[in-house]
């Protein structure tokens, strides 16, 4: 009855979101009186994998096939299904990210398992296996009961705080019999957007600019603010459409959906299609010169005035705060 959690890594680095998924699985396992096994696919270091024990994984199964270094939904599905069978597991946890979204549904179809995509709560076991998720682009929540014996859950990153505990997990090899068909998708080229900036979907803090910024030449002030906070940059659609900023920064109904702890919207009116991508953010700060801008209705904190005057001052205030924290 144990739980399998897919422990994603990118080139051997386990990120916070993976620790979060492992801890989610371990917490659930504990409440069900069972244990969680982390599954690592592709080339990875033993010592890095052992660290997953500090987040509650009782053991780690490693499928050390380098063909798994790139996402392949068929091969990943086969690997997880093999682990499920070996462990006699009933529950599989992945992240609700590009990897999880390609693999978890495939696995659910194979196992005939009910799936909740984008969980933001632990299952409520008193009512069956009821999990909360966001629906209608953040405008409401639904509570979904998985009624089948086997269950697959994808966890929305950044839903739970991560606490590192003690201990290391023993790593065992898991053999999976792949065939050529499992690798019917081949990577030809990887275009990284930019080396060291924080990828938007997993950023905890986001600074975003709209048409109120007037032009790309003014983005320096937003970059400074983002840098002072350690935040990623985003923008509204017209900003990307006018090529002021690259398209991968565009958030909203047609762009990315993000759920950071803090979203600072500068010179963005707050159209419903924009809100669709950001209104699950935990805290929203709006800076706009128009007191009637609709975004203020969705905001927790607001400042009325000219962005080009306010943002540099806010950056100063953040730097001052950081200096005090450090000192």
């Amino acid at each position: 009855m144990s739980i399998i959690v897919l422990a994603e890594h990118s080139q051997n680095t386990f990120k916070k979101k993976t620790f979060e998924a492992v801890q989610y699985a371990a917490t659930l396992a504990q409440s069900m009186g069972t244990s969680a096994t982390a599954l690592v696919l592709g080339s990875a270091d033993e010592s890095a994998m052992q660290q997953l024990g500090a987040y509650g994984a009782q053991k780690v199964w490693h499928v050390a096939d380098s063909r798994l270094d790139n996402l392949n939904s068929r091969a990943y599905t086969k690997a997880i299904a093999t682990a499920v069978e070996k462990a006699g597991a009933a529950i599989v946890i992945t992240l609700h990210d590009v990897t999880g979204k390609a693999v978890a549904p495939r696995l659910a179809a194979r196992l005939k398992a009910g799936l909740v995509a984008g969980a933001i709560s632990q299952p409520d076991l008193s009512k069956g296996f009821v999990i909360k998720k966001s629906v209608f682009s953040g405008k409401a929540f639904s509570h979904i009961n998985i009624t089948s014996d086997k269950k697959v859950v994808t966890l929305m990153p950044n839903s739970f705080p991560v606490k590192k505990g003690e201990g290391t997990a023993a790593v065992e090899k898991l053999e999976v019999a792949f065939d050529d068909k499992d690798f019917g998708v081949q990577v030809k080229e990887v275009k990284a957007v930019s080396g060291d900036s924080i990828p938007l979907p997993e950023a905890e803090l986001v600074v975003s600019g709209g048409r109120g910024m007037k032009g790309p030449e003014n983005w320096g002030v937003l970059e400074n603010l983002a840098q002072s906070l350690g935040a990623a940059l985003a923008c509204s659609r017209p900003v990307a459409d006018s090529h002021w900023r690259p398209h991968h920064e565009h958030v909203g109904q047609t762009g990315g959906t993000i759920r950071p702890n803090l979203y600072i919207a500068v010179g963005i009116s707050g159209a419903i299609q924009h809100l669709a991508g950001v209104n699950s953010s935990k805290t929203i700060v709006v800076i706009n010169k128009d007191p009637e801008a609709p975004f203020f209705k969705a905001a927790d904190y607001g400042v009325i005035g000219d962005a080009l005057e306010i943002v540099p001052k806010l950056t100063e205030a953040v730097k001052k705060f950081k200096a005090e924290q450090a000192g």
């Binding site: 984008g118 998985i146 080229e189």
Partner: protein
């Protein structure tokens, strides 16, 4: 090459969201239903472009839905496509949707199945990958570009912090997002033609759901925005630290 495009019906983005039956169902009263934007703007149009470019012989549209989805599927046909299939059932469980589509599609010899990155109502983004498993096809998600030559697809897909170019052999399921194509508006000729295009109604395979909606919930109303001025931004920063606890 035969293409199947999965079309879902969703409430217009600007709809007011409300629930009935003790918060167990979505109230459609006064809500305008539209084609899911990812299906309309990206999957459907790219399928039509592939046909216009000579790579595809036929483009079929499929929806799982009751009779109330017919205006939406007719609108999709007005944008383009040779015929539509409606599987006459309704479900909130993505497994049921995928299994119903798979039950129909498995004997139809589709080489390429296109769906949207997610529906804007339940925000799952899972039907495509489920279908791929059920139809034993390759799958690539979140594609922003798709070309096909000699039975091999070249696809640009989103990855964390960038983009990857993949090559995938057919048969294949692709979930589509922005970049894939430019939205098209149905013209008069399309609307007239859609009236006479075949719309097949297929009895459901009666798949058992694996999940059930227990309830819906509205988020707590924002307690009101706290305003600051350019002169007290230090206090805003303190509030973000002490009150919101986000920095």
């Amino acid at each position: 090459m035969k293409i199947l495009v999965c079309i879902s019906q969703v409430p217009d983005t600007t709809s007011k969201i409300a629930f009935s039956d003790n918060n167990t169902s979505f109230s459609t009263a006064g809500v305008t239903m539209i084609i899911n934007p990812y299906d309309e703007w990206y999957s459907l149009v790219r399928a039509l472009e592939l046909k216009e470019g000579g790579q595809a012989a036929a483009v079929h549209l499929i929806t799982v839905g009751k009779a109330d989805t017919e205006p939406v599927i007719r609108k999709a046909l007005a944008i383009g496509g040779d015929e539509a299939i409606r599987i006459d059932t309704d479900s909130n469980d993505p497994y049921v949707i995928a299994a119903e589509i798979a039950a129909y599609a498995q004997n139809e010899g589709y080489d390429l199945v296109l769906c949207g990155k997610e529906t804007i109502d339940y925000n799952n983004g899972v039907v495509g990958a489920m279908l791929a498993e059920m139809l034993d096809m390759n799958y690539v998600g979140f594609a922003s570009k798709l070309d096909i030559a000699g039975g091999v697809a070249t696809i640009h897909r989103e990855i964390e912090g960038g983009e990857e170019v993949d090559s995938a052999t057919l048969p294949l399921v692709v979930s589509c997002q922005k970049g894939m194509a430019e939205a098209r508006i149905p013209n008069m000729r399309g609307i007239m033609a859609a009236r006479t295009k075949p719309l097949k109604i297929v009895a459901p395979a009666a798949i058992q759901p694996l999940t059930a909606i227990d309830s819906f919930e509205m988020p707590p109303a924002k307690t009101g925005v706290k305003m600051f001025t350019i002169d007290n931004l230090n206090e805003l920063v303190s509030a973000l630290h002490n009150e919101a606890k986000v920095i």
